[in-house]
Structure formats: C-alpha cells, structure tokens
C-alpha cells in the first residue's frame, strides 16, 4: 500500500529532482572533456563570477572577523584565556566559518545570478538560437560557468579568510594593543596543514555545487518570466541545502583522517 499523497508526492519529487541533477552533472563531465574548449568564455565567467563577487565577500569576511572577535573576547577574558584569541579565531575561520559563510554568500549572489541569466536565455529562446547556429550551448554556457565557480569559490574563500583574520586583528589591536606580526604568528602557530587542506578541498565541491545547481535550474527554466524567478530562487535554496550536506560529509571525512 502506498503512503498518503502528502508524504508520497514530496518524497517522489525529491528523488526525481535528485536524479535529474545527477544526470545533469554526468552530462557536465561528459561535455567538459570534449573539444572545442571554450577558454575565452571560461575566463570571462571567472572574471564575472569571481572578481565581481570580491567586494561582497570582502565586506562579509571583514565583518565576520570583527563580530567573532568582539563576541568571543569577553568570555575568553573571563576564563583568563585571552592569549588564545588569535588561534581560536584562526581555526574557527579557516576550518569552518570562512568556507561555509563565503559559500552561502556566493550561493546567494552567483547561484541566483546564473539561474536568472540562463533562465531568461531559455525563455527568450536565446539558448535555442545558440543551438541552431551550430554551437553546443551546454558546453558554452553550462560547462564554463560550473568550471568558473569550481575554481573561483576556493580563491574567494581564501581571500575572505584573510580579510576576516585582518578584521579580527583590528579588534585585538584596538583592545589589546597586539601587533600584526604577533597576531598572525599566534594564528599560524596553531593552524596545521591538516586544518587548511580539508577546508580548501571542500570549497572546490562547494563551488561545483553552486555552479551546478544554478545552471541546472536556469537551463531547465520553463513557463515565462515566472519560471525565471522560480529558477533563481530555487537555485539559492537547493545550493544552500547541498552546501550544508557537503560540509557535514567533509567534516566526517576529515574527522576520519584526524583519527588515523
């Protein structure tokens, strides 16, 4: 006997959507390694998706560092552990907060942007026009964007981490007269290669997920301008959910390696 419709329908839709995204991802891998390669469009997308997101990621990272330090400082002082502040902030930002918050910001800006752009191209027949001109629109539009997000998100995260630590230093410098050199010596004294490597590797997956979901939603957009709005919106929602799942998996995998 089938479960009630209100349970059956969403569960079925979930698996249908998951299957469609997987099929879309497989098509990406199939097309990505085939010539002709769209290098010019890839670099243009790196500029548009990476460089143009820099101010937003920079401001967010800076405030993240300021707030984390301001809120943690009183508690650490209470326990007499003020000296641990740089290393605590460093580990928190590099291992978890920097990658996740930056990726979420990028899912909002880049994911929705890709969803809306490709969705609008789809409903105004621009993708069909590309197809009939003898160009493979999947390779030109989708492969280049997914590759650009996969390579740009890690760079943005590294930059956001650095800006967040700089923000944290400003608070420490203002309240505790700590020098730049001492602060960063303290940060890196407790940051291992094993902290940085998994945190950086997972950002490649974050970037891939943001590009994949944005392109999947935009490329499959239907039903006019309302469909474009839905594509942009669902690109952000689904990408954000996938980011948390990926983060959880990454932490589990990293944990296994720490224990070895």
């Amino acid at each position: 006997m089938l479960p009630p419709r209100y349970i059956y329908d969403p569960v079925r839709d979930y698996f249908v959507e998951a299957g469609a995204i997987t099929k879309f991802a497989l098509r990406f891998f199939k097309e990505a390694f085939k010539a002709p390669y769209e290098f010019q469009e890839f670099f243009r997308q790196c500029f548009l998706l990476g460089y143009k997101t820099l101010p937003l990621v920079g401001v967010t990272g800076f405030i993240m560092g300021l707030v984390l330090t301001l809120q943690t400082r009183p508690t650490l002082i209470e326990f007499g552990a003020e000296a641990w502040m740089p290393s605590m902030v460093g580990i928190s930002i590099v291992r978890e907060i920097g990658p996740v918050v930056t990726a979420l910001i990028c899912a909002g800006k880049i994911g929705s942007g890709i969803g809306a752009e490709l969705g609008s191209m789809k409903v105004t027949e621009q993708i069909d026009a590309m197809e009939v001109s003898g160009t493979n629109p999947f390779r030109f539009l989708v492969v280049t964007r997914i590759l650009a997000t996969t390579f740009m998100i890690p760079l943005l995260v590294i930059l956001a981490d650095f800006i967040a630590l700089s923000g944290s230093f400003l608070v420490e410098n203002a309240k505790g007269a700590v020098s730049w050199q001492l602060y960063f010596n303290q940060v890196f004294a407790h940051l291992d290669f094993s902290d940085m490597l998994p945190a950086t590797i997972k950002t490649f997956f974050f970037g891939f997920a943001i590009g994949l979901v944005g392109c999947y939603k935009g490329y499959g957009a239907q039903k006019g301008t309302a469909g474009v709005g839905r594509a942009a919106n669902s690109a952000v929602v689904i990408a954000s959910m996938i980011l948390f799942v990926l983060d959880f998996v990454a932490v589990l995998v990293a944990d296994v390696f720490y224990e070895l």
Partner: protein, 261 residues
C-alpha cells in the same frame, strides 16, 4: 514557382530544383496526449518561399523546430539538404545547421552581447565559413548589417534597439553564414504595419538576391500574399491543403476560407 536553378552543396553534391531541399514525410509529434503533428507531409524546393499558416497551437513552430533538430519527431522522415536530420550525430547536425538559418519570433538576440558580438558569434564558431582574419570578419558583419540597413547599430546592446530593429539584426545574424534554407517563425508578429512591411521587403530581397529557399510561419495574411510562392494550411496536424495564395483564397472550404476572411 521561381526560376529553376541548381545549388551546389558544401560536400559537392548538387541539388536541382526537381529535388526538394526539404522533404517532410509522415511526420508525427506529440506532447503527452496532445498530438500536434499527425503525419504531416511537405516539400520545399530551391529558391521557393513556402508560407505555412494555421491556428495558434496547431504545430507550425513545432514543425520548423523539428527541422533544425530543436525537437525530435516521434516518427517520420525529415530530409534537409539531402540528409536525414533524425539520424545525424551531434557534429553532423551542427554542420548542417550552418546551412539553415532560423529567425526566431522574439528575435532571440544574445542580450549580454553587442550587435557586433551577436553577429560575430556564429562566425567565430564556424571558421570554415570565413577566413580567420578579423578584418574579414568585421567586413562581413558590416556588410550583413548594411543589408538590413542597420550599420549604425553595430556597437549597441540589444536592449537599446526597437522591436523592428531587433528583428532586422536577428535577420542579419541569420544571414551571416550564408544559409541555403531560412526558416522564419512569425517574422512580422508584434510589429507595426510599416515595420512589418519593411521586414516583408527584406525577406523578398533575400530570396531574390541569395536564391534561398524559405519557410515562413505567419498569421499575417498580407505577409503571406506578398511573400508566398506556395502556401500550406496546417489543420489537425496535417497539411490540410496546398496551393498559391490566389488559389486558396478562392477555396469554398469553410476551414480554408476562415483564414482569408
């Protein structure tokens, strides 16, 4: 019918006017329970302007989208320039598409690119069609825009153009690869009568100067009267009736007459 002549294909084969450039046989296409094409048949000959009319949703756009491989027919034969489009691989299909121009109803200009880049896009991708030199590319782009009277818009973005200008730029983009067949999807819809007349004149000029064969989907009976060498009325997914504008306008069949009232 226009004067008889032969056209030489890129692979060296020669099509004569007795051999159709497009042959559609028993074409079927359904979307779920909606049976849009139910055994449609037609031929298009070199140098001919064939107008297809039919009610909205009768499958006219579906038909021409099947012809360029944007939609896959459920059954039937679709021979374009001597090749069965349903059996072509991706590469062969892309090559064949360079011989077919398609003017979309909404123009479909790439709105993130300037007019120049819109025209350059198909050229850059098919360098066998042009020399590599950028000066030659520029010359081709300028000439194509000049043909549609819009050379001054070369550095504008599509959102800076009016509806009629967009349609003409889209036409220039369609023509830039020198297609042998052009498919027009409602070329005058949404345009004022004067601009529509300009587009009709352009389509006629293209036919006369380039000797292209064209299929024109339209609801505009004035357009059909001026442009068509032959007309097909699509009803219930089949080619209900064929003939010249003069012949069909005299038909006593109420279904045919409904289009001419």
């Amino acid at each position: 019918m226009p004067d008889k002549y032969s056209s030489v294909q890129s692979d060296g084969s020669i099509l004569t006017s007795s051999e159709p450039v497009i042959l559609v046989k028993d074409l079927y296409k359904s979307f779920g329970d909606n049976h849009v094409l139910n055994g449609f048949q037609m031929e298009l000959y070199a140098g001919e302007n064939l107008v297809i009319i039919g009610k909205s949703g009768s499958g006219k756009s579906v038909l021409i989208k099947c012809m360029v491989g944007l939609l896959e027919p459920d059954a039937g034969k679709l021979i374009i320039l001597g090749k069965d489009i349903t059996s072509l691989g991706r590469e062969e299909l892309d090559h064949l598409r360079t011989e077919i121009g398609f003017l979309f109803q909404g123009s479909a200009l790439y709105d993130s690119m300037t007019v120049r880049e819109n025209l350059e896009f198909p050229l850059r991708r098919h360098d066998n069609k042009i020399a590599d030199a950028s000066s030659e590319t520029n010359l081709l782009i300028e000439r194509a825009l000049d043909d549609v009277g819009l050379k001054h818009t070369i550095d504008l973005m599509p959102n800076e153009l009016s509806g009629g200008m967009k349609r003409r730029v889209a036409l220039a983009r369609t023509l830039i690869l020198n297609p042998k067949v052009i498919l027009y999807d409602e070329p005058t819809s949404g345009l004022d009568p004067i601009t529509a007349k300009e587009i009709i004149e352009l389509i006629l000029e293209i036919q006369q100067q380039r000797k292209t064969a064209s299929i024109i989907i339209t609801h505009d009976m004035d357009c059909a009267r001026v442009i068509s060498n032959r007309m097909v009325i699509l009803i219930d997914g089949i080619n209900y009736v064929e003939g010249s504008y003069a012949e069909l306008s005299k038909s006593t069949d109420p279904k045919v007459q409904a289009f001419f009232k």
